[in-house]
Symmetry: C2
Subunit: 331 residues, 2 copies
């Protein structure tokens, strides 16, 4: 008997349903049961919130769990489906990719029903959950070796109307940064596929490094702001406080805005995220590991810009990314 | 011909010497040349500063490089030897332990001349550098999956006079925390061995997570404060600003102050480092991964204490450490 992806509850039933999305077994691994929260309050916006696409980005699963705590009392209309952990295998291994097949879940969409376990997860999400909603919030983080501000991001979308609606939705998170991010490695991404289906898709990139209680409070506030903007939840929205400021800005970064390391060495960051820098300002220093008499290399800003992401102090190889620069998005 | 550990310069020569500590080759790996800075200004305190004992703790190597920039003009007397990277093999691999032999350099002191490469590094440091100094600052960090305040730490020392001098030296860093840390895994540590030789040994535990420019500035200020206190550098010392405060406190944590996870799950931190908590206060929440209908476990403070370290939001196994509590050290 061939099993197909299915939900263990009726998603059309009114009110709250708690159950699982069953991803069928395959040649490489058994079936997975992904816990799903489904709150159906009738007519209104239809939203899917996902976390844990990458197993070493825990902000999403935790923020999803926090939203699940208060949403049943707060949601006034519409449908919200929440899957806190899309990839439990990667999460348990604390790895970006799935350890079973080595695949990055965010590069195999829309997946394959007869594929490896990562492809089967993508297939179940694409085929079952995505058609039920108009909007997706996929909660990521920038990774453990970067500093990055809490941000709602999107890649450029060819459909100009969808692009405009997507940027408006991203801005509604009221996070310190909204980022239009030109990326050169987009095939198979969840957002790329969802956009072909006409969905508004926001990828929240929630910082990087240590996941602290302060950071989680900011991220939760961002998601709540977006729920208010959609009309799913009533209330006021406000900018959360990030590094003593309550503000947000909409930025654009191009594929050419990546600063790469000119050599191997120890990278010392010399600026902070959201710093405004002028051409020639010091971004960081690359210290050679092998000698104290060889001069360190000063990494300077090629142009006036805003520091969108900066690498943690760590040993880097030549051509590894050190920083991502950005500038205000022209309206 | 059997090579022995040696320096490529005369450490007794007055003034600045830049060279290497040569760790001889062995059965498992070739010779290593560790870059060494040696500044000999005659009579006075004799200090060794080391970083990069663990390869995934980059604060130490970077702060050491920064001190090397200004020390030649600032040091007025005595001897300072700086080895920014004790374990280049682990640093290049971004791992705590040496990839060649799997050993933790901070558990093999005093090392063995005929041992594996990690043991040979320890042997060279113990035999050649340690006898030249009275005081050691070994610059570590708490590791990438924790939040921890910048702190100068020591384990308890049996010799009460040495203990008192060590705590005074640690306090002189004027970091947010000075920590007397009872640890149940001390054999083979660099500090344990150095203390048997009568040295004052401070282990700076510089935070955890992303290594940012703000954090590095705090750490550099702490080392400078300690150099001023030793009389090697002239100037004023002051508490650096950490999370909007300029203050320090001397804390004690016992082996029994570790909070361990009661189950497997996603840990959500609910408090911050240096928070004062009362018995029953919420420290964090453990969310089961497998179901949304199973209740999350609230982790509460067993006693009135100060949060000294708290785990990052991440997936943990049963009995993994979640937090380290502390209390003011009784004078």
């Amino acid at each position: 008997m061939t099993e197909t992806p299915h939900l263990t509850f009726d998603p059309e039933a009114p009110g709250l349903s708690i159950g699982n999305l069953v991803v069928p077994n395959g040649a490489d691994y058994g079936a997975l049961s992904l816990p799903v929260f489904n709150l159906n309050k009738g007519e209104g916006p239809r939203l899917l919130i996902t976390g844990g696409c990458h197993g070493n980005e825990l902000e999403g699963p935790i923020v999803a769990r926090r939203v699940i705590e208060w949403l049943p009392k707060a949601q006034t209309c519409g449908r919200v489906i929440i899957v806190p952990v899309l990839n439990p295998l990667a999460l348990q291994a604390c790895t970006r990719n799935t350890p079973i097949d080595g695949l990055n879940l965010n590069r195999v969409f829309p997946g394959r029903a007869d594929g490896t376990v990562t492809e089967r997860i993508a297939d179940a999400v694409s085929g079952l959950l995505l058609p039920m909603v108009d909007t997706v919030f996929d909660l990521h983080s920038f990774g453990p070796t970067w500093d990055f501000p809490p941000a709602a991001t999107t890649h450029p979308v060819a459909d100009r109307d969808l692009m405009a609606r997507t940027v408006r939705m991203a801005d509604a998170f009221k996070l310190p940064a909204t980022l239009l991010w030109e990326h050169d490695d987009t095939p198979g991404m969840f957002d790329t596929f969802a956009q072909t289906q006409g969905k508004v898709f926001i990828c929240a990139e929630f910082g990087g490094g240590t996941v602290t209680s302060e950071a989680l409070a900011i991220y939760e506030a961002g998601v709540r702001n977006a729920l208010v903007a959609l009309g799913l939840v009533q209330g006021e929205s406000d900018y959360p406080t990030f590094r003593q400021r309550k503000s947000g800005q909409t930025l654009e970064t191009l594929a050419s805005d990546k600063l790469k390391s000119p050599a191997q060495g120890i990278f010392e960051p010399r600026c902070s995220v959201l710093d405004r820098i002028k051409q020639g300002d010091l971004i960081g220093i690359l210290h050679p590991l092998v000698s104290l008499s060889t001069h360190s290399i000063h990494i300077r800003a090629p142009t006036t810009s805003i520091v969108c992401a900066i690498r943690s102090g760590l040993h880097v190889d030549r051509d590894e990314e050190l920083a991502l620069l950005a500038r205000p998005l022209k309206g």
